[in-house]
Amino acid sequence: MSSYRLPKGGRIDRARPLNFTFDGKPMQGLAGDTLASALLANGRQLVGRSFKYHRPRGILTAGAAEPNALVTIGEGGRTEANTRATLVELYSGLTAKSQNRWPSVDFDLGAVNSLLSPFLGAGFYYKTFMWPAAFWEKVYEPIIRKAAGLGRATYEPDPDAYEKCWAHCDLLVIGAGPSGLAAALTAGRAGARVILADEGFEPGGSLLSETATVGGKSAADLLAKTLAELADMPNVRIFSRTTVFGWYDGNVFGAVESVQKNTATVDPNRPVERIWRIAAKQAILASGAEERPLVFGGNDIPGVMMAGAMRSYLNRQAIAPGKNTVVFTNDESGYQTATDLEAAGLEVAAIVDARADGVSSWSGRAPVFPAALVQDAKGGKALTSVTVLKGGALVTIHADALAMSGGWSPIIHLACHRGAKPVWSDAKAAFLAPEIQEGLTIAGAAAGVGSIETCLADGAGKAASALKALGFSNATAAFVPVADTATVSKPLWRVHGSKGKAFVDYQNDVHLKDLGLAVAEGYGHVELAKRYTTNGMATDQGKLSNINAIGILAEARKVSPADVGTTTFRPFYTPLSFGALTGASKGKHFQPVRKSPLHDWAKKNGAVFVETGLWYRSSWFPQAGETTWRESVDREVLNVRKNAGICDVSTLGKIEIFGKDAAEFLNRVYCNAFLKLPVGKARYGLMLREDGMIYDDGTTSRLGETHFFMTTTTAYAAGVMNHLEFCAQALWPELDVQFASSTDQWAQIAVAGPKSRLILQALVDEDISDAAFPFLGAKEVSLCGGKLTGRLFRISFSGELAYELAVPAGYGEAIADAIMEAGKPHGICPYGVEALGVMRIEKGHVTHSEINGTVIPSDLGFAKMVSTAKPDFIGKAMLLREGLTAEDRLSLVGVKPLDPATTFKTGSHILSEGAVPSLENDQGYVSSSCYSPNLGSTIGLALVKHGPKRHGEHVTVWNDLKNEYTKAVLCSPVFFDPENGKLHG
C-alpha cells in the first residue's frame, strides 16, 4: 500500500482541485498542496533515482533540505531541473518529470550500478581510469559525465522577467515560525520597521502542522491571530515565498522572492522572481531546526520519511503515509508523529525508540520498544518491512511507512556566512552558532530552544533586546518567558550491524562504508572526507547529511564531534537561479548604452555602428553601390585627403579644469610641460602612470588663464577623470584646481581635409585663416551669425588640415547638418572610425593599440616630450629603471609588405628574415594595420626590438594562426606626408 489523501483534515482547499502531470501522467492535487504532497496524495512515493547507484528514492522531507524528490518542472525555456518537489507550490498546469533515470523512474537500467557498488566506493575513480592516458577524455570521462549530473537544463532562453530591489528595515526577521512571529510582533508593536521573510507560501512554520495547544490555545488560532495583528501594522511587511539566501557584510541580506512561480500563466509585466538586498539594522534568525535522519540499512527506501515531515504532510495536507507505520526515533518528536497518525485513524505498528531511558509517557495504541533499533528497512521500490533489534533479538515488522527522527539540528547556515564557526554543544547535542553577533541574533529552535512556548518567548525577548539597542526603549516582549523543559537525547549517529546500505548523504549516494574508507585512507578531516566522498556536496549542501557524517567520523576517529567540527557554511542557503541574480540586466540591458549626441545624425547618414565599450560609434558610411566595408572606407579616406570629411569624435573624454593652480597641476600629471601653455593654444599631452608607463594621451587646451579643457581617449575617459581627482584630492590638496566631466555636454565634430577651412569658415563668424588661427589654435567661437557659441580647436589626427568643433550637445545634429550643407559644394563626406584609423596609421599616430600599458614614451618616439626640467611629474622617478632604459625595448616602427599585393594582419609577429620561428627569435609584433588607399598597400605600425634602428630591414611578418608569412620591410612609422605640409596648410 502507498500514501493517499485522507477524507478530511489539513489546511487544503478541497473545493479547488489543481491538475498537473508527473512523467506525463495526469494527476490532481488541491490548493494548499506542494508538489510533494500532491504526489503523495496520488500514491506516488517513488519520485527519483539516486546519483550513483540509481536507487529508487521517495520523498524524505517536507522542506528545503529535500535530497531525493528533485524533479524537472516546466517546458521549453521555462524548464527547471533539480526542483525540490517539497518547495513547489502546486498550481494548475504544472508539469513535472523525474530525473536521472532511463528509461523510466520505475524501471531504471542504471540500477545495475548497485550491483557494482563494492567497486564503486568512495574515491574509486582516483585510483583507476589512468591507462592509457588518452582514454580519459575519449572513453572514461564521457561515460562518467553522462551518468553523473541530475536533471537536464534547457538550451532555450528564458522568456520571463526578473528584478532586483533594495529594502531597508530596523529589524529583519528570518523565518515566520513561532520564534519569528513572536519577534515580528514584538518589533511591530514597538513601531519598528519590520520585514518578516519566510520561504513558505504560508507563514507559520511549525505552527502550521502543530496539533497540540500552545498556551491553552490551538496553534492554528494563535497563528491566525498573530498574522491578523501583523497584517494591520503598516510598519510590518511580510515577505512570503521569500528565502533569505545570504548574510553579507554590513548587515545586508540577500533574499529571493518567488513572485510568479506558482502559476502556469505568467504575467509578462511582472517578474517571476525578485532579488531583495535587505539592509537591516538588526536581524533575528528564526530559521528553526532540521530533523536528523537515522543511519540504518535501507534508510532510503521509498516509504521511509522524516517523522516531522510525515507529521507535516498529515496535518497540513491530510496525507496518510501508508496504512501501517513504524516510528523509529531517538527523540520525543517521533511520538508526536505517532500521536497524530493514531488520531487520524492510522495504524502505528510500533514505536522503536533507540533510547533506553528517554521513553515518554506514551498513551497511544502502538507498542513502544525501548532501547531498540531498526537495523534494516526492506523493500525495493516501496517499503515492505523493517527488521528491529529488540532485546538482543531481531524481529520483522511489516510496514509500508517508516517515520524516523534522530533529533534536531539548529539551522544556523546564515549565521555562519560571515566567518563564525559553529561550536559543538554537548548539552544540546548539536552545533550552535554564536547566539548574538553584530546585527544578528539567533532565536528559537535555530538557537537550540525546544518547545513552541519557549520559542515564542525566546523570539519575543530577543527582538525586544535587539530593538532596545536601536533605541526603541518601549519594546516589550510579546510573549513571557517560560521554562524550557525539552530534553535532549544522546545522538545516535548510526545503527550498528545493518546489512543493507545505510545512507548518510542520500543524493550523492554516500553511505556509511564510504566514510569509514575515507578515515582509513587518511581523509578523516571533515573537509577531506567531504571532498573525498562528496558527502555534503549535493544540492542540499549537507543540510541533512553533514551532522551524521560528523558523528560517524567522530566515532571512527574516536573523538568528539567538537574535534571533528563542521565544513564551512557558505551562501547560498538554498540554490538560487541565474535569472534572479541577473534581474533586468540582460539582453540589451546587460550593460548601459552610450550614444553620441550625433548618433541620430550618423544614423540618417547611413552609418554602420560598432560597439566600443559602452558606446556605439559610427564605423563607416556606405554609399549606394558599395558592397564591402573596404570600398566605403577607402573612398572616405581618399575623399578626406582630397576634399574634406566630417567625423563624430564626441565620445572622446572631455574634462573642464579650473583653478589658479590648474597649469601647475597639469604640469604634474603630464610628462611634458604645460605650465607655460599660452591661452588660446592646444597641446598634445602624455599622461604616465606612477610606474612610468603611458596611461593615456590627448590634447589639452588653455581657454583662459585658469581654465583648461582636456580631451582623453574614449576608453580612458572615466579612468583619467578619477586619476586627476586622485592627484588633486589625495596627493596635492594644497593646489587650487577643480574638475568637471563634460563628455556628455559637448558634441565634438572633426572636420578634416584640404577644404575644411573653407567649409568651416561658412559657419564660424571669426576669421580662421592660417594667420588668424594657426595649427594648435584653440578658442571659443561664434557660430552662424552669433546664434551659438562653440569651441574650435585646430588639431589633427588625420594629418590633414583639420579642426575639431565642439558645440553644446543639443545643437550637435544641427551643426553637423550645417557643416554637411556648407561642405556639399566642396565634396565633403562623413567618415567613421575605420577611415579615421587608416589615416592615423598613415601618419604614424598611436592609439591604445600601441599605448597598451607596457610602453613608455621613448618606446613610441616621444622621448623628447619627457621633461627633464620639471622637478616632478607622475611617473618620473620610475622611468629611470634599468629595464625601462634598456636598448632592446620594443619600439615603434612602420612596416609594409615588400610586395604591395601581399598583406598582413594586426597581431602578427615580426621575425628577422630567415629566422627560425621561436619565442627567442620573436622581434615584436604588428600593433595596428590597415590597407592604405593612398599608398596602395597594407601598412602597419609595429613594436619591434631596436625598432628605430632597423628602418629598411627586411623581415617576416608571421601569422601562423592564418598560415600567412609576409615578406615586409621595417620603415618610419610616418607613411604619409612626413613633412606635415598638409597639416599646416
Binding site: 545586508v252 622637478p871 622617478a877
Partner: protein, 95 residues
C-alpha cells in the same frame, strides 16, 4: 568588505557607488627620495591582515577620494575620512 560605506559627505551609501584604488598607508615620496623609496611606494605593500587604510573614490556620488580604514579579516569599517584632510606624512609630499 562592508556592503555600505559611510561617505563623510554623503552618508552611508552602497559599496557599488565607490571605486577602490588601493593602499593609502604609504606616502608619495619627494622627487629625489631615491630609487628605493620610489620602488617601495609604487610596488611594496604592507598588505596587513587586520587594520588597513585604503583609498576609495566615491565615483557615483560626491566624487571625493576617501581614506577608508577597515579590517581585512572581518571587513568591518573603522573610519572613513576625506583623502584631502590626511596629514602630510601619510598623503605624500612632492616638495
Amino acid at each position: 568588505m562592508a556592503s555600505l560605506i559611510a561617505c563623510p559627505h554623503c552618508g552611508p551609501r552602497p559599496k557599488e557607488e565607490f571605486t577602490v584604488r588601493g593602499d593609502a598607508g604609504i606616502a608619495r615620496p619627494v622627487p629625489d627620495a631615491g630609487e628605493d623609496a620610489w620602488y617601495a611606494y609604487v610596488y611594496l605593500r604592507d598588505n596587513p591582515r587586520g587594520r588597513h587604510k585604503e583609498h576609495w573614490h566615491h565615483t557615483s556620488g560626491c566624487r571625493r577620494w576617501l581614506v577608508v580604514e577597515r579590517d581585512t579579516m572581518t571587513h568591518a569599517i573603522y573610519a572613513v575620512s576625506d583623502a584631502g584632510t590626511q596629514d602630510a606624512s601619510t598623503r605624500g609630499e612632492t616638495a
